[in-house]
């Protein structure tokens, strides 16, 4: 404690010091904000990569991804070959009025079809407009930034590590133990 | 006094008397206290016109600023409903007696004042400012002044004793003697 009123003087000093410093307010509509890398603004869909595996829709905690599809049969490419079926996407929509930006769908997608975009200015006057259909989700792809460099000392991306190992020592196929040991 | 001052003085007097009447006749407790503000303010104005500047401002500081605020404070602390309180009424006999006592007191005061000061003329040049008051209080009236201050001190000590709860034999009294 010490002298009486030291606490009061300390408080006064703190506020005065703060006043002489730059304030941290962002002048948002006038000056666009300086967003950190990997900002979660909106989810973009790269339709070409989507196989309609439905993993994202099933993993989404609030069930706000809507996917409709049908099966299409492709004629055999070679004479006497088997016909192939594949899933064709009819509808892909994300309801951003429900989405909580957890990013689970993006993590879950095994085919790199979903991406984070930092765009955040998509407020609407009608809540129903917040359901972004596939065309709108596809448009967001243009705003997806290139992936930021890894943090120094971070583990290498899995596929790159695997590829490098494959180049260094072509292992017999089927042996998948080495991969686990690299962790 | 010149004519304008006389007129204003008379108006202030009417205001003081009128609001004083309202103080005792209104059936709303807080309105009574507020009319008291007007009455005391008008009296202060009269003092001012009588060149007793210092007394006028003491009147405002002590009576309007402190006593009335204390009064309002006490009213609100106890009970001060908005609107008419029926129990503020008094019977006819009580009213008559009260009016008679008031008239008698007024008559007595007026007689004494007229007897003592009639014919005296206020010197327009000299103001009843602080120097004049100070000189007369601390020269000719110093003894009464001191006696009064001892009296107030006694009242102060009494109030403290009454309101303390840790003194044996005192305390329990809920009604604190307001001394002023």
């Amino acid at each position: 404690m010490g002298l009486p009123g030291r606490g009061l003087a300390g408080g006064l000093a703190t506020t005065f010091r703060t006043m002489t410093r730059r304030s941290i307010t962002q002048q948002y509509p006038d000056v666009s904000p300086d967003l950190p890398p990997r900002t979660r603004g909106v989810i973009a869909l790269l339709e070409e990569n989507c196989t309609v595996c439905m993993l994202c829709a099933r993993e989404c905690p609030d069930w706000c991804i809507y996917i409709d599809s049908h099966k299409e049969t492709l004629p055999a490419t070679t004479e006497g070959g088997r016909e192939r079926t594949r899933n064709v996407l009819d509808r892909f929509a994300i309801d951003f009025s429900l989405c909580m930006y957890c990013g689970i769908c993006i993590e879950a997608c095994p085919f790199d079809a979903l991406f984070w975009s930092p765009e955040f200015e998509y407020a609407e006057l009608d809540i129903r407009e917040l359901v972004h259909e596939r065309d709108r989700l596809a448009l967001w792809m243009d705003t997806v930034p290139p992936p930021p460099p890894l943090d120094p000392g971070a583990e290498e991306a899995k596929e790159i590590a695997a590829a490098r190992k494959a180049v260094a020592a072509p292992a017999p196929t089927g042996d998948r133990h080495g991969e686990g040991a690299a962790r | 006094m010149n004519a304008a001052v006389t007129v204003v003085f008379a108006l202030l007097g009417v205001l003081a008397v009128g609001s004083a009447l309202l103080v005792v006749t209104t059936r709303q407790v807080v309105h009574a206290a507020l009319w008291l503000v007007v009455a005391l303010g008008a009296v202060a104005g009269c003092y001012l016109l009588l060149r007793a500047e210092f007394v006028a401002w003491v009147q405002v500081l002590v009576y309007v600023g402190a006593v009335v605020v204390l009064l309002l404070f006490a009213l609100m602390l106890t009970k001060a409903p908005i609107g008419v309180s029926e129990d503020l009424d008094a019977g006819l006999a009580q009213r008559v007696v009260a009016a008679m006592v008031a008239l008698a007191t007024g008559a007595l005061l007026v007689t004494v004042l007229v007897d003592g000061f009639s014919g005296e003329v206020i010197d327009q040049g000299a103001t009843g400012g602080a120097p004049a008051i100070g000189a007369s209080v601390f020269r000719s009236w110093v003894l009464p002044f001191e006696v009064l201050s001892v009296l107030l001190l006694a009242a102060l000590v009494g109030a403290i004793v009454l309101s303390r709860r840790d003194v044996p034999g005192a305390g329990a009294a809920d009604s604190v003697a307001g001394g002023r």
Binding site: M19, T25 | F54, G65, F73
Partner: protein, 318 residues
């Protein structure tokens, strides 16, 4: 003093009365914002939101004037005026420069203190007439606060009056010497603290403690009447600053730039005190009711008496 001269002074006074509180309010907006690492208003008027309070005034004027059904209409309507007018009177008595007061009175300091005490009646009236228990509580707190802090305020002012040997405000400034800053320092601090308490400014804002009693006596007010109460608060800061300047900081006196520009010093010092008031508001937490009363009776009153004694001794010896 001719009629024209008086008229000019009155117009100037009114202008000051309407503009200075807004200036203080704007300083409060901006200083408080920066002390909290914010920017404060930035849009109104274009340059750093200078016209924010003008915009606020327009907004207040457009609002509905609500009269609670159970309220006492006359008292309710009169209260804001009674809260505001005393400060106008006090401002008229402040000598801004040598011989430059709108009205001069022999017992100026006394008059000022007397009139300032009236403002509280406006608050008490407002609190009572609103027919709202929180308002009554606020009014009670304000009245209790005023009753306790009036004494140290008057005693501190009496000390300066004693030192100067006069009750007139210009007289006090004339008699003021720089070393009084030290001699009357306790008095100045007591005056400022007690003045803050009378204005119900933080850290003495129990009467309007929003977390407990909404906005105290002003809870039921809206529109222009509410704006009048706000104006009264800021006019109170201006008056407190001006009075502190005149009584303790030497008014228009300064080592240089005296002559005709003395009023500038009065203004600068007044705004400096106003800044201090704002700074205190930003930095200090609110005092509890019992702490508030203890501060007044156990610290300020004895200190003021000691100051009075020191002043007396120095006067008699010197």
């Amino acid at each position: 003093m001719s009629v024209l001269d008086l008229l000019l002074r009155l117009v100037l006074l009114l202008a000051c009365f309407l503009v200075l509180p807004l200036v203080v309010g704007q300083i409060e907006h901006k200083a408080m914002a920066h002390m909290q690492s914010r920017l404060g208003p930035m849009y109104a008027g274009g340059f750093h939101g200078w016209a924010q309070l003008v915009a606020d005034g327009v907004k207040f004027a457009q609002k509905e004037d609500v009269l609670p059904a159970a309220a006492d209409p006359w008292v309710f309507r009169l209260a804001p005026a009674l809260a505001l007018l005393p400060y106008l009177v006090v401002l008229a008595l402040i000598p801004v420069g040598a011989g430059q007061a709108v009205v001069s009175a022999d017992v100026g300091i006394f008059l000022v203190l007397a009139v300032m005490g009236i403002g509280i009646i406006g608050t008490v009236m407002a609190g009572w007439a609103s027919a709202n228990k929180f308002s009554v509580l606020g009014a009670l707190r304000a009245a209790a606060q005023l009753l306790s802090y009036e004494l140290p305020l008057v005693l501190a002012a009496a000390s300066v009056a004693m030192a100067a040997g006069t009750l007139s405000l210009p007289g006090i400034v004339e008699a003021w010497r720089p070393w009084w800053l030290l001699w009357q320092l306790p008095g100045a601090l007591i005056f400022l603290v007690a003045g803050l308490a009378e204005l119900s400014r933080s850290p003495f804002d129990m009467p309007v403690a929003e977390s407990e009693i909404i906005f105290g006596a002003y809870t039921e007010y809206a529109g222009l009447r509410f704006a009048l109460f706000l104006l009264a608060e800021y006019a109170g800061i201006v008056v407190l600053g001006a009075l502190t300047t005149v009584l303790f900081l030497g008014g228009w006196k300064w080592p240089f730039l005296v002559g005709g520009l003395g009023w500038l010093w009065t203004l600068v010092k007044t705004l400096a005190v106003a800044f201090l008031v704002i700074w205190l508001r930003v930095s200090l937490p609110r005092l509890r009711e019992d702490q508030l009363q203890r501060l007044a009776w156990a610290w300020l009153v004895p200190l003021a008496l000691v100051q009075l004694m020191i002043t007396g001794v120095v006067r008699v010896m010197g």
